[in-house]
């Protein structure tokens, strides 16, 4: 259903993902999940994959969800959401917002099969990926979203591979809406969620969700780090509507990647004695490529 620009830009606070969850203080994923749930509204079913989000938000007897949620396994949030969507179609119920949510593993690694199948079949489901760039829940192990140079418990010398570009992979399935967002711009994030939910078909939103524990920074810096990820070009903000890249988030003041890397403990090893190692230049190169490719 079409929404006016005013409705799309209104900030939503409905307490549908509320207090009492066991996330670390300053958790980017908790903040993102809260913003997504509120933007979606009460007429929503959340299908949640195992991960930090599930573990901290749904313990018996006090989960922090106030919209109905369904959790099964690590890798099948997309398939479970497909089933819910099929049921609603078969039973002629609805309209309803179905949001499948998962972290990087559940989206791009172990869950890639299910999400690819869901996109290919075109179920009317919004998939939200909370990208904290590692398997955080199990102790900060490397995933396919871990960026170059990051230290995780399974890449103690720094990750040697580049981040998988999931938004573009999603878009290549031919789905009508893909977007990237960060938790620092809550208006933008909620607008994207609302836009996505108004489109029929499979949708994908990729949210950068800093993890204070895994990235090695104070919880209060979560929002600032997102801003730096945007302003250095390492996390480009854009929408892909029917295959075309639009609404690119232009960088206000371009910053060198050091500004972003220096704040995080997981990149500390790149700055021995204050001097940046060669990987930093490679990371800058990645940022430059993003800026060029998306015209940031």
């Amino acid at each position: 259903m079409e929404q006016s620009a005013e409705e799309l830009n209104k900030i939503e606070k409905k307490d549908l993902f509320t207090s009492g969850h066991r996330a670390c203080g300053g958790c980017g994923q908790a903040l993102a999940a809260r913003l997504v749930a509120d933007a979606s509204g009460e007429n929503t079913i959340a299908c949640v994959a195992t991960g930090c989000l599930e573990v901290f938000s749904s313990p018996y007897p006090d989960p922090s969800w106030r919209i109905p949620f369904l959790h099964s396994l690590f890798e099948n949030a997309a398939a479970v959401a497909s089933g819910v969507e099929a049921a609603y179609k078969a039973l002629n119920k609805g309209p309803i917002n179905i949001i499948a949510q998962g972290g990087d593993g559940s989206t791009a690694d172990i869950g890639f099969q299910c999400i690819s199948g869901m996109f290919e079949r075109g179920h009317n489901v919004l998939y939200v990926c909370y990208d904290n760039e590692a398997y955080m829940n199990t102790g900060v192990q490397r995933s396919s979203f871990t960026p170059l140079g990051a230290r995780t418990s399974t890449t103690p010398m720094g990750n040697k591979t580049r981040k998988k570009n999931m938004p573009l992979l999603a878009a290549d399935h031919g789905i009508p809406y893909v977007a990237t967002a960060t938790v620092d711009d809550f208006r933008d994030l909620q607008r994207k969620v609302k836009t996505a939910l108004s489109i029929e078909g499979s949708k994908y939103i990729h949210i950068l969700a800093p993890c204070p524990l895994g990235w090695g920074h104070h919880g209060e810096l979560t929002v600032k780090i997102c801003r730096l990820a945007k302003d250095t070009g390492l996390f480009p903000i854009y929408e892909i509507i029917n295959g075309k890249v639009t609404n690119v988030g232009k960088i206000r003041t371009k910053l060198p990647v050091e500004e972003y890397l220096k704040l995080q403990g997981r990149f500390k090893h790149l700055f021995k004695k204050g001097r940046p190692s060669p990987e930093v230049a490679e990371i800058q190169e990645i940022a430059n490529q993003n800026i060029e490719r998306f015209n940031l």
Partner: protein
Amino acid sequence: MEKLPLGLVIDLQQVVPYKTGSWRTLLPVNIMQTPPCTHACPAGNDIRGFLRVLAEKEDYKEAWHVLTRTNPLPATCGRVCPHPCEAGCNRRDFDSSVAINNSERCVGDYGLEHNLEHKKLVSGRNEKIAVVGSGPAGLSCAFHLAKRGFKVKIFEASGEPGGWMRYGIPPYRLPNYILKQEIDKILRLGIELECNVKVGVNIPLDQLTREYNAVFLGVGAQKGLGIDVPGKDAENVYTGVDFLKQVNSGKWMEIGKDAVVIGGGNTAMDCARVSKRLGANVSVVYRRTRMEMPAITAEIDEAMEERIMFRYHTNPVKLVTDEGRVVGILSVQMELKEPDASGRARPVPITGSEAFIPADTVIMATGQAVDYDGIDVQTVDSQWMYTNEHLMTSMEGVFAGGDAVVGLETVALAIGQGARAASAIEDYIEGNIESSLAQPPVIYSRDLNTYYYQKQKPFTKEAVSIHTRLKNFREIYPSFDTKDIIEESKRCFSCGLCFHCNNCYMYCPDNAVKMSSSTGGFEFDLDFCKGCGLCAKECPCHYIQMTLEK
């Protein structure tokens, strides 16, 4: 414990949330701080207060009431104040200061156009206070006392109220009708005014101390001092004070073709610009340079725009007269040596550099003093009045403030002193030890989070052309568009006080920031707050700070 439901399926509306507040080691608190504008304002105006009312509610009426809590003369100050608030404004470090002075004028003018009135806070007190002098100090003192319910009578030596604002500041800076309307509003609080009575001369001071519970002296420094040079008693030689008083009383002064003003203060600038409008070629003679001139920068700039010549390093030695009238000044060039007692470089004459400056009129704006005629209070170095920390003079029950106490300062400072004196008088009458509220700490720009703002051009006022200006004594800055000022007020960062940007409300991952129905702002749900500090970090005005949990 409840029995386990089938499949461990839980009804979400029955959940009792787990209290994560016990995890906390740091606690967010709301701490109101003093913005540097208020800190710099000699009248202690709630600048943040009135600007935020304009920005958030676009309500000029409420803004006027906020501003006039401390400043009963906003339209006046908005025209004549050198605005130290803008020098302190934190926005200055981001792009440029908020145009506070212009906003003040716009709000003041609105109050005049829409006939807004001051309100009493308390009524029906029986004590009587006498206020001597209806300049800004006296008016402010009377204003605050009247609001608190006291009976106040002002004794004014001149024919009309206003003090130096009326008789010193020329109308192109402060139109008479503006001042009169503002004074009338103050008087409508029930203040009695008697003009043409000089206390100490027409009425003895001790009569007032007997008949009134307290007295406030706001007599200003309206005695002009000239320099001691030969020829100073000639006909067309005036002190700055006398010259301005005559012009501002409506008298047309015939000053001839060339006028020379000696001095570097605001009075000198006023005399120069008035003379220009009276049709003369004007030059200002000053023994040091522009850097040492005590006049407000804007005044000097505007005087230069009006093609007044400045002769720096120049000191008059003698006023050359012919048949009792001055025809010119014999002056000598000075060079600047090490600083003297005033802290400014010491001028030393250069021998052999004498020159003659023709002049039909000479105005000596070279200093002012308090007229102590009949007022027998202790002074400091025989110059300004002595007051203790409660603004009481050496006479019991007699208080003082304004130029008479602090020397030649601003309208804003006099207003502030009047307010302090009113408080001190109330304490004196009630027998209280002075009740002073501790001022919250000042917040500086390094503690603000300015990411959320874009650089913007400030509002700037535009003067009418020089040609138009010099034709008359009308205001050189026409009135401002109220919409422009509202846009300008939105530039205020609201340093140290919540302005409902919703950042903390939206950024808390634990949903622990709630809207407070009592304050209209936000409060923290301490059952769930984990003390992560995101709210404090992202608060643009530093209103939220993290402290150690007990």
